[in-house]
């Protein structure tokens, strides 16, 4: 009778001690793969054990509550309190299991990385900040290169590379080099291209086809140098510091460059284009806009005069009609 009562009490959760609630969190939550329920029960266990004065179990229950909450809600704001809660422990149950323990050190290191990744996800346009955060993340993952990832199976990063720490390290290193290149491209396209080469190398190592393709494409463009058709300066960086502009070019044009021992690649006969550096090209564009504006103003003034004359004539015609 008493066993049945005990079973019913445990099943209904009446009058359970902190330790019992802790076990119940596994049996009703973790082992049933209901992590939301597990988080709630761990939270309850934390409160009860704390009240009972069992500080160690209370700390583990609180950490488990936050851990399972994070795994289900994927709320990055939980990371900070979770790391703090884990800080007081030496080991904790392996995720999804009741009797196998793991050291909290590697978990904390991984969660620290996730905090940086959460910051990265919030930033969109600040290239310098992104560069710095990716560098920081790469450094953190470098320190745990050989460790298996713990939480990524449950909370995906959203950018792939969720299986291995080295892949995450290379992804962040690639991103860091990519943004480093972005910060340098307007000052020194050559050095920026070198950074892109490193980014490409890192993306290749983590097999990130998307970013590798992007880096390769930019790298191929930024390494091209052409002599500007207008100012005759050699400029590096296609679609960055020079572009190919439409022009009427003939084999004679090409021949002329060859005869003068000048950069023949500045002319593309097939597509009828010539290389123009960004200052020359933009100067022409701005000048064209200015000229167009000037013409527009002149024409507007002339039109205004014409309109006013038409208006005057209309007035006169109207007056003539009225006088008749």
């Amino acid at each position: 009778m008493s066993k049945l009562f005990e079973n019913v009490r445990f099943a209904m959760g009446f009058g359970l001690s902190g330790g019992e609630i802790y076990s119940r969190a596994f049996e009703k939550g973790v082992l049933m793969k209901d992590f939301i329920k597990a988080a709630d029960l761990f939270d309850e266990a934390a409160k009860r054990t704390s009240a009972e004065g069992s500080a160690e179990l209370a700390a583990r229950a609180a950490a488990n509550s936050l851990l399972y909450s994070y795994l289900t809600k994927k709320n990055v704001h939980l990371l900070e309190p979770l790391v703090k809660a884990l800080g007081g422990l030496y080991e904790i149950e392996r995720i999804g299991l009741q009797h196998e323990m793991m050291r909290v050190g590697p978990l904390c290191a991984e969660l620290e990385c996730r905090r940086i990744e959460a910051l990265i996800a919030q930033i969109h346009d600040d290239v310098v900040r992104l560069r710095d955060l990716h560098r920081m993340a790469a450094g953190k993952f470098q320190a745990m290169l050989q460790q298996p990832l713990i939480t990524y199976e449950y909370v995906k990063s959203g950018v792939g590379h969720d299986e291995r720490a080295d892949a995450r390290c290379f992804y962040h290193q690639g991103m860091y080099q990519f943004y480093e290149a972005m910060t340098k491209k307007d000052r020194d396209p050559s050095t920026a291209a070198d950074d892109l080469a490193l980014a490409q190398q890192a993306f290749r190592r983590c097999n990130d086809q998307h970013w590798m393709h992007k880096a390769t494409q930019l790298l191929d463009n930024w390494r091209i140098a052409r002599t500007c058709w207008l100012c005759h300066r050699e400029v590096q960086g296609y679609e960055l510091h020079f572009s190919m502009c439409r022009a009427t070019v003939t084999p004679y044009t090409k021949h002329l460059l060859a005869t003068l021992n000048q950069d023949a690649s500045a002319v593309q006969l097939e597509s009828m284009k010539v290389a123009v550096c960004t200052p020359c090209g933009s100067m022409m564009s701005f000048k064209a806009v200015e000229e167009a504006e000037k013409v527009r103003k002149e024409l507007t003034a002339k039109l205004d005069v014409a309109f006013s004359r038409i208006q005057a004539l209309e007035d006169r015609v109207n007056r003539i009609y009225l006088n008749q």
């Binding site: 019913v8 099943a11 049996e27 009703k28 082992l31 290169l145």
Partner: protein, 617 residues
């Protein structure tokens, strides 16, 4: 003489400083400068105007650094060209094909063809000199262009500060950029194994990089050009500061090591080329060890240290291969085992250094992977030697015939997919041999009580010959949830087993054993009881490698999620279970059925059993 020149250069620099600070007037400066420049030129003329040492680490003014062979070459060159007796041309020749430095024996006849020790190309000194001459022309043109583009008319009269400026602003960045870009395609060369076996070289990740082999075959004009530039004395004269010298040296090491790696890649897959590969690795080791003395940055130093440790271990491994696989006579297995153990210890040391290396992971991770491959090769060899040692206890056999027989047997057992798979297979064969030789017990279930019932199980057929064997299974612990209770549901964590039939690699059969199954206690006991295998019962080696077994077990657990509620699986190892091949006779003829205490077992075992019996005889 070198000190005199240096003194004059310092004096000239000091004149620059004094005139810039107004301590001397311009006419005095001009007069003094003219005087000292003239004196400097006279010294240079007396030294010989074309002193050019074309190899890294050998300073033109430091003849003590020259090898005896180079001195010899110098003497011969001067003798063979009497009209130029006042002008010595010191050249360290390079192989016109692979670009590795030439090795000329003291007293050797330079009119005779030379053989490159690193690629075995035969060439004459004249060919090498012609090649060098062309490269020197390119070098001069490049240097002139770089100096002029820095705002100077030519090299003469460029003071120390200007030289430093030209090096930092023009020469070094241009050279580094070019080297970076060229070497970019070879960023993964360290990932490749340095030592190969005939059996490993066709595996996808062990195959040498085609681009590297092309370099070694002579498609390397750019490498020769860069090598000439980076090691030219004229360029070194511009690297005035210690820091600049170090940066230049780093470039030299990168370029020169590529030459050796290319040769290794080319010859790693050639039969009987261990000597050649060894020479290239020894050259690499020398380069790394010399460079290690010069590197100041601790992270980079740790990286070079790993490279050096790897070459040291690989040289030892090659020595073993040369002795056992190329010479292959009078092999004492115990001695060989001891030596290969040492090699593996060296490789493990290199690997632990690589794991602790704090240099950029873009470079250290490929290096770790490369060392891992070398280690796998060494372990494959170790597994062969272990098998040989056990086999020769009962029957004398030369190493090489045994090696060939063992490999044939391994290839009959399975389609070997990778070096790790080959290693696993050989290890597994070794374990069976050791357990049969009463040396190393294995976890095995020796309960045959189920056999009679199994034989009689098919009543319509008449049982014929029954051949017993021990059957390998990968066994994993399975943590699963059991939901109990009638009114109140309650979950409990239980432990069971998942077994993967290890006798084949394609779609292995998986069997789940829960805590309530009758065979569960037998499995538990089998895992606890390590026993020797019976000589009279054939034991099949495990063909299925660990990774594939784990993958199959996980896939099974995932597919049976609803039924088993698996929480976690943990691989335990190989367990040998008793099995039997029974020949039944019925009205349709004979048919072999394989049975064991488990529900499912691989039925396609006839060939494996036959091959194993033959190998063991």
């Amino acid at each position: 003489m070198a000190m005199d020149k240096q003194d004059i250069r310092t004096l000239l620099d000091s004149l620059d400083v004094q005139v810039s600070m107004g301590r001397i007037d311009q006419p005095t400066y001009d007069a003094l400068k003219q005087k000292w420049v003239q004196q400097l030129q006279e010294i240079e003329v007396s030294e010989g105007s074309n002193v050019a040492l074309e190899r890294a680490g050998i300073a033109a003014t430091d003849t003590e650094g020259l090898t005896s062979t180079t001195h010899e070459l110098l003497a011969h060159s001067s003798l063979s060209q009497p009209e130029e007796s006042a002008h010595y041309t010191i050249e360290v020749l390079a192989c016109p094909r692979c670009n590795a430095p030439a090795e000329i024996k003291t007293g050797g006849d330079l009119s005779q063809p030379l053989k490159c020790p690193f690629c075995e190309t035969v060439y004459t000194v004249r060919q090498s000199q012609d090649n060098e001459q062309q490269l020197k022309k390119d070098l001069k043109a490049w240097l002139d262009q770089m100096i002029v583009s820095s705002g100077y008319s030519n090299n003469n009269g460029v003071d120390i500060n200007a030289r430093r400026f030209i090096f930092r602003e023009s020469l070094y960045p241009a050279l580094k950029k070019e080297i970076d870009r060229r070497l970019e395609s070879f960023e993964n060369m360290l990932e490749a194994p340095l030592v190969q076996m005939k059996e490993t070289r066709d595996f996808r990740d062990y195959r040498p990089d085609q681009r590297l082999t092309m370099l070694a075959k002579g498609d390397n004009q750019w490498l020769k050009t860069l090598s000439t530039r980076v090691s030219a004395q004229q360029l070194q004269d511009f690297a005035v500061a210690q820091e600049d010298k170090q940066r230049l040296r780093q470039l030299q090491v990168r370029v020169l090591s590529l030459t050796y790696y290319a040769n290794i890649a080319r010859h790693a897959s050639s039969p009987g080329a261990y000597q050649l590969v060894r020479k290239n690795i020894v050259a690499l080791q020398k380069e790394y060890q010399a460079y290690l003395q010069e590197v100041a940055d601790e992270h980079y130093r740790s990286y070079i240290h790993v490279l050096d440790a790897r070459t040291t271990a690989d040289i030892l491994l090659l020595d073993l291969f040369i002795a056992a696989l190329e010479e292959g006579q009078h092999i004492v297995p115990q001695a060989l085992l001891f030596q290969v153990g040492n090699v593996i210890a060296q490789l493990e040391k290199a690997q632990s250094l690589a794991l602790a290396c704090t240099y950029n992971p873009l470079y250290t991770v490929p290096l770790q992977q490369g060392i891992q491959k070398d280690m796998t090769t060494a372990r494959i060899f170790q597994a062969v030697v272990v098998d040989y040692e056990v086999a020769t206890r009962t029957r004398a056999e030369e190493f090489r015939p045994f090696y060939e027989r063992l490999m044939r047997y391994a290839h009959h057992l399975a389609n070997i997919e990778s070096a790790d798979h080959l290693l696993w297979l050989l290890t597994s064969i070794g374990r069976v041999l050791l357990a049969r030789a009463a040396e190393a017990p294995l976890p095995v279930v020796k309960d045959w009580t189920w056999l009679d019932a199994a034989v009689e199980g098919q009543r319509r057929k008449a049982p014929g010959q029954v051949v017993l064997h021990y059957h390998p299974y990968w066994i994993a612990q399975m943590n699963y949830t059991e939901v109990g209770g009638v009114v109140v549901k309650r979950a409990s964590a239980r432990v069971g087993f998942l077994l993967a039939d290890a006798s084949s690699i394609g779609a292995p059969i998986i069997v789940a054993v829960t805590a309530h199954d009758a065979v569960f206690p037998r499995m538990e006991a089998g895992l606890q009881n390590f026993q020797l295998l019976d000589q009279q019962v054939v034991s099949l080696p495990a063909v299925l490698p660990y990774e594939k077994a784990e993958q199959a077990i996980r896939a099974y657990a995932y597919a049976h999620e609803a039924e088993l509620k698996v929480l976690a699986t943990r691989m335990l190892g190989i367990l040998y279970l008793p099995a039997a091949s029974i020949r039944y006779v019925d009205k349709n003829g004979k048919r072999d059925i394989v049975v064991s205490c488990l529900k499912n077992i691989n039925q396609d075992l006839a060939q494996a059993l036959k091959q194993t019996q033959e190998f063991l005889q």
